[in-house]
């Protein structure tokens, strides 16, 4: 006796032309995979492919729980948090709202995959895009789990934790403020802003389940795309790059920033990876930690999926530049130099 339609708009009707049915394609693909299993396993015999495949599966398996956490929170917001509550909580002034949203990022203890669906849902519920974007950037970088793991990774350098916190928070807030100035709503795909209307009488739990399912299926595909790219680069980019940078600060900062984008490490693990690069001074390593959670390949893929390609193409370079600058400034102030 349940009757829920999550949108007011009925489907186009029965006049759709029958094309190749995706369910049939799926069955064919699965059968082909079973039939050619030996050949596929044979492809894994090439050592580089095998290493890449392992890294790819690892990135997907590691990120899926966080993505699921994100879509569940996003579903809860869609079903249970009316837009009016969010409007009341956030300051009316957008610039102030950006600051509040940045600080609110401390409350979502996950890595970057979780924050994309949540930020998109906040936008749909009427939060100003700039504030939602500040939350998107802050959440994976300034939450307690990430800060604690940074402290553990740099046992002799408590200043790294403070520098990372300030650098990341500044990145989120500055990008938010820039978006208030120069950002245009039309860059964001229409579907990302469309409000979900709950039909009267519909069960909130069904809205929750349907929203979460929909977000998961769509964002999951983009996560896979990002994971695939990151895995390929992870295998192709020679790590010897890094060790040759010991003496060069400017080049070191730039290469570490690019490496953060390319490697797409989880923000809870990245501190341990750079802590091990002891040949480098602290500043380039801090820039790695500030850039990584704000912009990396798997995040850009997720953002392109959630907000549209024309948004991602503008947002990623903007964030990259701001994150590098904020990382360097925070490092110089808190660490007191390059070190």
């Amino acid at each position: 006796m349940v009757r829920v339609t999550a949108t007011t708009e009925p489907r186009a009707g029965t006049a759709r032309p029958r094309r190749v049915d995706s369910l049939l394609v799926l069955c064919a693909l699965l059968l082909a995979a079973i039939a050619f299993q030996d050949q596929l396993t044979g492809a894994l015999d090439v050592p580089a492919v095998r290493t890449g495949a392992t890294v790819f599966v690892a990135i997907c398996v590691q990120a899926m729980p966080f993505l699921v956490l994100g879509v569940l929170i996003s579903g809860l917001i869609a079903a249970f948090v009316p837009a009016s509550v969010l409007r009341k909580v956030l300051p009316r002034n957008t610039s102030a709202a950006v600051g509040v949203a940045g600080m609110a990022g401390m409350a979502l203890p996950g890595c970057e995959c979780a924050s994309v669906p949540v930020a998109r849902r906040l936008m749909q519920q009427g939060v100003a895009p700039a504030a939602a974007l500040a939350f998107l950037l802050a959440a994976p970088a300034v939450n307690p789990v990430v800060l604690v793991s940074t402290a553990v990774a740099f046992p002799g350098e408590p200043a790294m934790v403070l520098a990372r916190f300030l650098g990341s928070l500044a990145t989120a807030v500055v990008v938010g403020w820039l978006w208030v100035r120069v950002g245009k709503t039309e860059w964001i795909a229409e579907r990302a802003l469309q409000r979900i209307r709950r039909p009267p009488g519909g069960s909130r739990w069904l809205v929750f389940a349907e929203t979460a399912r929909h977000d998961l299926v769509e964002a999951g595909g983009f996560l896979v795309l990002g994971g695939l790219t990151a895995a390929v680069l992870n295998v192709v980019v020679p790590p010897a790059w890094v060790s040759s940078l010991a003496g060069q600060v400017v080049l070191g900062v730039l290469v570490m920033a690019v490496l953060a984008v390319v490697l797409s490490l989880c923000s809870e693990a990245d501190a341990f990876v750079v802590a091990a690069l002891s040949a480098l001074p602290l500043l380039p390593r801090l820039v790695f930690l500030v850039v990584g959670p704000a912009v990396d390949i798997k995040l850009v893929a997720l953002q392109a999926g959630a907000f549209g390609r024309s948004f991602a193409m503008r947002f990623a370079p903007l964030t990259f530049v701001v994150a590098v600058v904020c990382g360097v400034v925070a490092g110089l102030l808190v660490l007191g130099g390059v070190r």
Binding site: T5, Q62, R213, L216, V224, A230, C266
Partner: protein
């Protein structure tokens, strides 16, 4: 991709995650503590897919179509990519091995420094079992010489360098295999026997560390004088 197909793919992905969790294959990719999260994730995926399929069936019986959340003007294509991890899990690529060690090059990341007092004396007895990470950390940072003259038993996989040298290595991970870093010792002696094993063979090697064969800044691969070699099955936890 049609909504019905999306649900099937989602159920497959959830099932794949549950499968690698309960068979222990997940240990090739992530650290053990992720287990409950993986089970929860797989379950959520299967449940969400099941709810959607049930709803579709109920609606189909009443001859009405269920519409998607965002109006579904055109079905999204991105869910097709979800099949890739399903296929990859089906093929179950192995844990990182000698290729990853060789790829990481000569320069190994130094293990984190431990402040003094955190190197307890070794237990008495012959052939103490020790992780390669511990060996590397002690040779690099412990200047009390606790490994001096002690016979150790190490387990790792065999790595053959291009120049024919042999290493015994383990990968150390923090979150997942994407952040893996090699921990390794250079094997000295017993070359013909080492030649006879293929790279990636798991070995238990007994021997002693050559004192002073590492230094904190530059070289973090201790030299290990081999006394005996024994092939062993791959451990359940491939990473350290």
């Amino acid at each position: 991709m049609r909504r019905e197909t999306q649900n099937v793919v989602l159920a497959l992905l959830g099932g794949a995650l549950l499968k690698i969790s309960f068979t222990g294959i997940y240990l090739r990719y992530v650290k053990p503590s992720l287990f409950p999260w993986l089970v929860a994730t797989g379950t959520v995926m299967v449940v969400l897919a099941a709810i959607a399929i049930m709803r579709d069936i109920l609606h189909a019986q009443r001859n009405a179509e269920v519409s998607c959340v965002d109006g579904a003007h055109r079905p999204p294509r991105s869910p097709w990519l979800l099949l890739l991890p399903v296929l990859a899990v089906f093929l179950a690529p192995p844990a990182l091995g000698s290729d990853a060690v060789n790829r990481a090059g000569e320069q190994a990341a130094a293990p984190p420094k431990r402040t003094s007092g955190l190197f307890p004396p070794l237990p008495r007895g012959d052939a103490i079992e020790m992780s390669i990470s511990e060996v590397v950390t002690r040779t690099v940072w412990d200047d009390s010489g606790s490994l001096h003259g002690r016979t150790l038993k190490l387990t790792g996989f065999l790595v053959r360098r291009d120049d024919g040298r042999h290493l015994l290595a383990r990968m150390a991970i923090r979150c997942c295999a994407a952040d893996a870093a090699p921990r390794k010792v250079l094997l000295a002696g017993h070359d013909p026997e080492l030649e006879s094993h293929a790279p990636d063979t798991w070995l238990e090697v007994t021997g002693t560390v050559v004192p002073g064969s590492t230094s904190p800044g530059t070289d973090t691969t201790p030299t290990f004088t081999v006394e005996s070699i024994r092939p062993v099955p791959a451990p359940d936890h491939p990473y350290e």
